[in-house]
Amino acid sequence: MIGELITLLITSVLLNNAVLNQFLGLCPFMGVSRKKSSALGMGVAVVFVIVAAGIVTYGLYHLVLVPLNLEFMDLVTFILVIASLVQLTEMFLKKSSPALYKSLGVYLPLITTNCVVLNVCLVNISNGYDIAHMLVYTIGTPLGFALVLYIFSCIRERLEVADVPQCFKGNPIALIVAGLMAMAFSGLAGII
């Protein structure tokens, strides 16, 4: 059981990475990766919202939708729960922690449209995970997203001062780097 959970954690963080393997969350991956500080802020905000959304939607599905035979409403329920959670989180941060709001607040509305959040909620249900597997997958996936986003931002900061040909400057070289990162991460498949 423990070995299975460790495998799931490594898989969700490195091998089955949301960005590089499943091509999810590419909008914040390209848009908020120019500076390390903003990438870190976005990463932390994504981890916070995905963990909260994953736990709430899993509970809601098994405690409300299944007993009422309303499983077909999972998608619309999860979208509304994620949107509500983002509002709640933003309100909570405004009131309780201005410093945290200053660093994360601007990224919270962007997370509502981040497809990684919805993907985690849907995979938890469709794969039939129990609570332990759900928790590991719900924590592992955003950690993988944050890790890749931070590494990518470090590379992009270096690219700003690198001698890149004019036609490759900006997004073209960033996309090439993302492709190379995807290949590098796929090379880790042998560790499992």
Binding site: C27, L80, S84, K94, P98, V106, Y107
Partner: protein
């Protein structure tokens, strides 16, 4: 699908929408902390022109 289940589905959906609207309005009314009035994302814009952080939204 029988009538009771349809009614439950509509009721459940309505309550979720109600919760979202309540939280949205409550969040809008909550004042931002000092120094956070004009926070902007460090985003130069992707192709999603409907995103609230897209630079064209700030111009209009």
């Amino acid at each position: 699908m029988d009538f009771a289940q349809l009614f439950l589905a509509i009721l459940f959906f309505g309550s979720l929408v109600g919760i979202y609207i309540f939280l949205f309005l409550k969040n809008k009314k909550t004042p931002k902390p000092e120094g956070c009035e004009n926070l902007k994302a460090d985003c130069e814009g992707c192709k999603d022109i409907y995103c609230p952080n897209h630079p064209t939204k700030e111009e209009s």
